[in-house]
């Protein structure tokens, strides 16, 4: 049976008031490729087509999705279709009134990022003073009865705060905290040497997570997204290429994951030119790595291929230079030494290097460079 998608990530805009140096958006987010944003009607058509294909979970993301003035209408339409809607936001200048309107429109779940456990670090990582707005918005979501996920991207400069972050989520009455170790794509790959933690930092944080999970039980779900450079085997990226997940970018390109647009050897189609169902089933970007016929050795004869699906195509492209190779994170990959070298470099460095903030002028310069 052909797989049908369950998840759609709708990246409504790449505009964002925050400047996090690990942003998963493309480096050229401010360039011409993403300039002409989909209209309200176009998004609503995407949601209808997604539902008809089998999508049940809709993430409304960005950039900063609350910058779209039609967000309420998009939520209303998605909710009317029966989609479970999650707003993935920085909560910058998000008011209780707006959240109440979104609640009435049928929004199911709110996920608010935070960059550190205190204002000083959170604002320094975000590059924008936003901590106070976030804390206020956490309280609004609870007052309005939303299930709440606190999301934190972890890296060298904030991993020591894991315990404080869990305690913060607990005190807010959140359902979940997502502790997402930085995955190196987009801006995070650009800033890899500044962001990558040491092994000792990761070991410490993981011990805290295990202890806190035992203490909290079902009161607070603690999701720990593995730091894959420090693992022996690759992650089962997206649950397998083109099996359950797709991303629609602000200008309508459809990607098998939110980092895939960087793979220059794939052709991506646009919802302005093709129905979503055709793109899912037939487009080069989705068909190329679906299933396991594309797999080279060591994946082809590996018993783990049904668990990890060969790992991540983007990582194979970005690190090993070919999206059709085994994920170089795998200890069986002939390119694993590239990962080991990056890890060793960080272990050797006495001080972390400075990062580049995610911002439109830098992005435009990078887009012009190609």
């Amino acid at each position: 049976m052909d797989p049908k998608p369950l998840w759609l990530l709708a990246e409504l805009t790449y505009k964002c008031p925050l400047q996090c140096p690990y942003c998963s958006n493309p480096l050229d987010f401010a360039g011409p490729r993403f300039k002409r944003e989909l209209s309200t009607d176009e998004w609503c058509r995407v949601f209808r087509e997604a539902k008809a294909l089998g999508v049940l979970q809709l993430g409304l993301s960005g950039g900063e999705p609350t910058l779209r003035t039609d967000l309420e209408e998009l939520v209303r339409q998605a909710h009317g279709l029966g989609l479970y809607t999650s707003l993935i936001t920085s909560a910058y200048r998000l008011t209780k009134e707006r959240l109440a309107v979104l609640k009435a429109a049928g929004l199911d779940h709110v996920q608010i990022s935070i960059q550190g456990a205190d204002a000083e670090l959170s604002d320094a990582v975000a590059g924008t003073a936003s901590y106070r707005d976030k804390i206020a918005a956490y309280h609004y979501t609870r007052e309005l009865g939303f299930p709440l996920t606190v999301n934190v991207v972890l890296h060298r400069r904030n991993l020591h705060q894991v315990e404080a972050l869990i305690r913060l989520a607990e005190s807010l009455g959140a359902e979940r905290i997502e502790l997402a170790n930085t995955q190196f794509y987009g801006w995070a790959l650009h800033n890899r040497d500044a962001l990558m933690p040491t092994k000792a930092q990761l070991d410490h944080a993981w011990r805290v997570v295990q202890r806190e999970r035992a203490r909290l039980g079902t009161r607070l779900e603690i999701v720990w997204v593995l730091p894959d450079y420090h693992e022996q085997y690759p992650k089962p990226c997206m649950g397998g290429w083109a099996r359950a997940y797709m991303t629609v970018t602000p200008a309508g390109e459809v990607w098998p994951c939110h980092a895939a647009g960087r793979i220059t050897t794939l052709t991506f189609e646009n919802v302005r030119e093709h129905p979503l169902g055709w793109i899912w089933e037939h487009s080069d970007a989705f068909a190329r790595f679906r299933g396991d016929a594309w797999m080279p050795e060591p994946c082809r004869s590996c018993p783990r291929k049904t668990q990890d699906f060969g790992g991540c195509r983007c990582q194979a492209f970005l690190v090993a230079g070919d999206a059709g190779l085994t994920d170089p994170v795998c200890s069986l990959s002939p390119h694993r030494h590239l990962i080991d070298a990056a890890v060793a470099e960080v272990e050797r460095a006495a001080e972390a290097v400075e990062w580049t903030y995610r911002a439109a002028p830098v992005s435009r310069a990078l887009a012009a460079k190609g």
Partner: protein, 92 residues
């Protein structure tokens, strides 16, 4: 008999929502970043979890509806499974 005040009334957590999945011809429980596929019996149990009925009441209703006995174990196992995921809570 249920002792008053004991937390035996199952409720679907506010983060979870029952939804029919037309494409796959089944019902599912949707929640943040996840879903559980349900069989028709599971849906029926959840529909009886109205915040008033205790587990014993849910069992009694099902046994009466189907003229069956001994469903308690299945109902309890199903609800406890969802409770372990935080999708069902027990209250007074």
């Amino acid at each position: 008999m249920t002792a008053p005040g004991r937390p035996t009334v199952p409720r679907l957590h506010q983060k979870a929502r029952l939804q029919h999945d037309d494409v796959r011809g089944r019902d599912v429980l949707l929640y943040p970043e996840g879903l559980v596929a349900l069989n028709p019996t599971g849906v029926e149990i959840l529909q009886l979890c109205d915040g008033v009925r205790s587990v014993a009441d849910v069992v009694a209703t099902l046994e009466q509806r189907y003229g069956a006995t001994g469903v308690e174990h299945d109902v309890t196992a199903f609800l406890d499974g969802l409770a372990a995921k935080g999708l069902v809570t027990y209250g007074p």
